[in-house]
């Protein structure tokens, strides 16, 4: 048939779109996997309408990784939940001892893995981080050092607490759908040389195998009419988010 390739080209466009629509419809069918009300601390809107050519409204998911919480620099190192044992269950090869001279290269060579992460909102994990921060701040102030007292106040209360290769298993461990989100995540392994990367190993602070969440699907498109609310001129955000400016209830499939 002379126009077979033309029909094929048009079909590729239509079939690809149909698959996207079916995927989306399946995602939206049934009850949501999780439904949590988040505020502008967890879903940030970077208004660039004056300089950007993109008129779409996108919210960016912010989360707090306990391993990189800023208070850590002023306190003793604590082992993150994303430790050697957890990393092994996620498929990473942690056979080389962190004290080995080859360890840095061995862990650098390992590629980030696709897993599922559990993020808990405004939970005991978050409160523990804040308390730890407050203690460190008090200590620093006592030592006559100044500190940004609002650093924790502006941070996302969505804290990464667990990960697994299987989302069903992860949900079974964290069944509360109003406080825990299960999201696909990219986790990387590294040799953690406390307090900063590149420091020579010390006997007091031996290097550790640690993981970090490298990426989460963090962009959420806001459709009309909800997006109109974000374009209001009075929607400018203060630098520090103490009181909620807006709240969003995304339904996750």
């Amino acid at each position: 048939m002379k126009s077979a390739s033309l029909v094929t080209a048009a079909s590729i466009i239509l079939v690809a779109n149909a698959l996207a629509l079916i995927h989306s419809a399946r995602n939206r069918a049934g009850s949501p996997e999780a439904e949590i009300t988040l505020t502008n601390r967890e879903l940030r809107y970077f208004d660039q309408s004056a300089t950007d050519d993109d008129s779409g409204v996108t919210l960016h998911l912010q989360w707090t990784d306990p391993a990189s919480f800023p208070v850590r620099a002023g306190t003793e190192r604590k082992q993150s939940w994303l430790d050697r044992t957890k990393l092994q269950t996620l498929g990473f090869d942690c056979a080389v001892d962190p004290g080995n001279s080859e360890a840095a290269r061995f862990y650098e060579r390992q590629r980030p893995r696709q897993v599922f992460a559990a993020l808990e909102y405004d939970s005991a994990a978050w409160r523990a981080l804040v308390e730890e921060f407050e203690r460190a701040r008090a200590k620093q102030q006592a030592d006559a050092g100044s500190n940004d007292s609002t650093a924790a106040a502006g941070m996302s209360r969505l804290v990464a607490i667990d990960a697994d290769l299987n989302p069903v298993r992860l949900r079974a461990r964290h069944p509360d759908r109003r406080t825990v989100l299960i999201l696909p995540a990219v986790i990387a392994v590294m040799l953690d040389r406390w307090p900063y990367y590149g420091m020579k190993p010390e006997s007091e602070h031996p290097p550790q195998i640690a993981g970090r969440i490298q990426e989460l699907p963090s962009s959420i498109h806001v459709p009309r009419p909800f997006s109109d609310q974000f374009r209001r001129p009075d929607r400018s955000q203060p630098k520090v988010f103490i009181n909620p400016i807006y709240s969003v209830r995304p339904s996750l499939a």
Binding site: L6, S55, P184, S219
Partner: protein, 365 residues
Amino acid sequence: MRPQDGAGVGNRIGAQEAADRIRILREELGTEQVQAVLALTPDQRTRFDEWSRAALATLAQQFDVDTTVSQKRVSWGMRIASTLGGLAICAAVVLFFMRYWGFLSTPVQLAIAILTPLAALAGAEFAARRERTRYFTGLLSLVAAASFIMNLAVAGSVFNIVSTERALLAWGAFAIVLAYRYGLRLMLMLGLTLLMSYGAAAYTAQMGYEWLEFYDRPEQFLLLGLLVFALPYCLKHTRNADFPPVYRLVGALTVFIAILSLAEWGVPSYLPWEQVTIERLYEFGGLILSAGAIWLGITRGWNGIVNTGTAFFTIFLFTRLYHWWWDWMPKYLFFAVIGALGIALVLTFQRLRGKMIHGEIGAAA
């Protein structure tokens, strides 16, 4: 060949080659050297001129080929202008959509995103039915491909779908279909690149890694590049006779860039050895493979492969010399040695060329 025999050439590439041969023959017959050994009678000359003019006119009419050197130059200009114009229109379409899509409802956003590549495809088909040179067809095909990329990106964004490597498969397949329908080499290059990326991304995802890290282990591209290079042996291109060189060029470039990244840029490898060992292995592998590409290109008459092989042989050789000598040799001496090596290479190629000329003269005798 009768003037009307232009129809027997089959495709535009064959027609252009036939037109080039006739044009060169006309020019050569007009020179004093040829006339000294092949003197045509006035009657023969007149009949040849009439035949060649008619043959060129027929080819030009049937296939819109270039019959003079000036026309060829203009055609190149048109090719470059249509490619640049296509790219500019792609950018305009995407930026225009981004500028206003936030003010549209979701169904309208989606409808525009789907209809734009379909409209560009219809435009390409319309142009292809009205022109034989494919300038506007190529331009609109490029717009269709860019619109389709934007289409799936918008659908993914609107419905907050987690990104997947399968989009690369759809885009690659679309570009390949357009390439074969309209005989567009640029679309074939785009399609092959997208499909190779899909192959690497699918394997990466299958192994449990993030698919976007597909470029992280270039060895995947070594295999894919070799596969693309070998494809013309399996696929017969009677209609698009100019496609096999594109397959070979894309395959060769993929293989050489993968080797170069492993040898020189410190990119991680699947091999479990020391970094230095892996780099040396790929450096020498690159030298041997590029020399092999030059040999293969010469024996098969593949100009693109000869040029690609020569370029990468030079890069691999000079980077190896840099690693050996840069630190301990005075800089002026290093460049003097490089210059001497360049002269040695020219002399080697000159000798090789001389042998080929003598061989051809001997075969003709």
